[in-house]
Symmetry: C2
Subunit: 377 residues, 2 copies
């Protein structure tokens, strides 16, 4: 009997823009395909704050991110597993990505200790001690059942001394191997993370070590942690040179619309950031003409939508005047309508980028974006 | 030339249940028809807390309530008028009802003074003094452009001495005439409010005075303010005897599902209450089997929906376990999913009542409701 073996690559490169490094592609996961470039809304503890899965679908969200550290603390990975994994638990019918807890090594720096074995945290909820090692992180992420898991790494802050960044990147490489060894063959993808701070030689070495170990995709970690924008762009530009073209590239924790448009031009496929949701809750809205602070008095009587180029539920139905009133009155609906807009804006921006890349017109798309943003209202 | 003048009554009585006083009907407003009995979600300051107009439509909301006192303070009736009235301001494509500020005479008792002219409040927002008279209340409600306006009244607390209740009801009757005189002929409806505390003779006299003045519909105010349930039911039962059968009857600020089912059986057509939304934000869910406190530990691993008889977005998509997790984690989404369920539950309950009345089976509907509620989980 003749048998055909059809091999589908994990990342499918569909086009590279003629004039930039921007790529259009698709990432294949057990929970579905993700068209790239893609922005992934952050659902820290099992909820993209204020938004329902229905809201996220209306924004054309493809994949959402969950935080291993937060989900481990509450409700616990065993609970999530009992419900059939993260996606089923939160009623999200699509792919998910879990971080590894490595970011909390950075963000909870005053609450953790690092050894070769792993990191020990004091819970930000009740102060209890918890230990996350590479093996533990993979165990948790396996139970969470995400489509894409991330290696447990150390994300160093900026500025960070060379020797610390070097030792940390070396440890991250050793941890990456342990993560790979701990992974089950269950269809979940595992991405490696390149560290090395702002030092090009360390980044190069880290990239080589991580790529040499071999993962389903590669991420650049440790950026957008306090360094100047130009440094972030420069490091990204160089590091992508060491990343395989036939694998997805993920720039972790980035960023502003400007960062994302720039990152796409440097060959990045995946982004995540709390910025659209967190800023929304603080009344800061992203628009095609730049940022808009909804609480400003000038919007009190404005019957304009937030962004006349936006097709989101908020922009199609509500005036700046009403949104300002909701925000000033402390109405919870304000937080949701703002979040809905910002997420829709981010995803539309990235979707527009993808279309432009397919038409080999990304440099024009990027130029138009910056012209409009800088033009203001 | 022959001309036909078609007169549509404001309230259209469609059926009275064979075995109870329950009525099915319709209220015709300039912003559309409302099928009764009806429950009106409360949108205090221009938002039914946590819910969008889309959410409300999905719950089959027919009419929402706005609070004159709150909207007067923020954003102010002139602002709302500039946006084309309350419905347009909040993007609600349907009827609205505004209260008169009279309820705040009760709820802000320590912040107001009453004279024959009206009530003087200190703002709960900034302490500034504001004055609401019958004429001012109608002026504000006219600018808010609600489909149904309410007369400015004094809602007394319970217990309330006979002499105070008597004087207050007399003043409310005088204020009602001033409201009627202040009303413009612009299609907005104006409802009179019957007061008189728990005293049957005062209620009878108040009803006669208010009905004698003549309004587009009639409300029973001053109940659900601390008196025993049985007293509320008894007063309602008696007062409806003095209310015209060809006008809508509104029991203000009521109440629990039990109160509403009982009230419908006594011939009430309209209800409003913050209970479904406020309790939702406190994690208390109303179900066909009674109340459910979502934070209870027993639901941690429950894959059941909140109410297996409920067709709301929350019940169709989420487990008790996930809703408990959201609530315990302080996620804003918890407040919305809970509110969505409670509003859907209230509206389905009242819609079911309407269908039963049309089939002359309301007493059976009521019996089934109480049997199930009392049966528990």
């Amino acid at each position: 009997m003749l048998k055909w073996k059809i091999t589908v690559s994990i990342y499918e490169l569909q086009n590279i823009d003629n004039n930039t490094k921007a790529r259009a592609g698709a990432l294949h996961t057990i929970h579905g395909e993700i068209e790239t470039p893609v922005f992934m809304p952050v659902g820290t503890a099992g909820s993209v704050k204020t938004l329902s899965p229905q809201d996220l679908k209306e924004c054309k969200t493809q994949i959402i991110l969950g935080n291993t550290y937060h989900l481990h603390l509450r409700p616990g990975e065993n609970t999530v597993e009992l419900f059939g994994g993260l996606a089923k638990f939160i009623s999200w019918h699509g792919p998910t990505l879990t971080d590894s807890g490595g970011y909390q090594v950075f963000s909870l720096a005053d609450r953790r200790k690092i050894t070769e074995e792993g990191a020990t945290f004091r819970s930000h909820l009740d102060g209890s001690e918890l230990h996350i090692s590479p093996e533990k992180s993979i165990e948790i992420q396996t139970k969470l059942g995400s489509s894409v898991m991330m290696c447990f790494d150390e994300c160093v802050s900026s500025p960070c001394e060379y020797s610390y960044a070097e030792n940390s990147a070396e440890r991250t490489a050793r941890w990456a191997k342990r993560c790979k060894n701990a992974k089950k063959e269950n269809g979940q993808l595992l991405f490696g993370i390149i560290q090395g701070g702002v030092y090009h030689d360390l980044r190069k070495k880290s990239a080589e070590q991580i790529v040499d170990t071999g993962f389903d995709g590669y991420a650049i970690g440790g950026l957008s942690v306090g360094e100047p924008n130009e440094t972030m762009y420069e490091v990204t530009d160089r590091v992508t040179e060491y990343m395989p073209a036939d694998c997805a590239r993920y720039l972790m924790g980035v960023g502003t619309p400007e960062d994302i448009i720039t990152g796409i031009g440097l060959g990045i496929d995946m982004f995540d950031c709390v910025m659209p949701t967190r800023n929304a809750r603080n009344g800061l809205l992203f628009t095609s003409k730049g940022k808009l602070r909804i609480k400003r008095a000038e919007y009190k009587l404005s019957d304009d939508s937030v962004d006349d180029e936006c097709g989101c539920y908020t922009c199609k139905n509500f005036s700046r005047g009403y949104l300002r009133h909701l925000y000033k009155s402390g109405e919870i609906l304000a937080l949701r309508l703002n979040s809905l807009h910002n997420i829709y804006y981010y995803l539309s921006l990235v979707n527009g980028a993808r279309n432009a890349i397919k038409l080999n017109s990304y440099s024009e798309y990027k130029k138009n974006f910056f012209n409009k943003i800088n033009g203001g209202f």
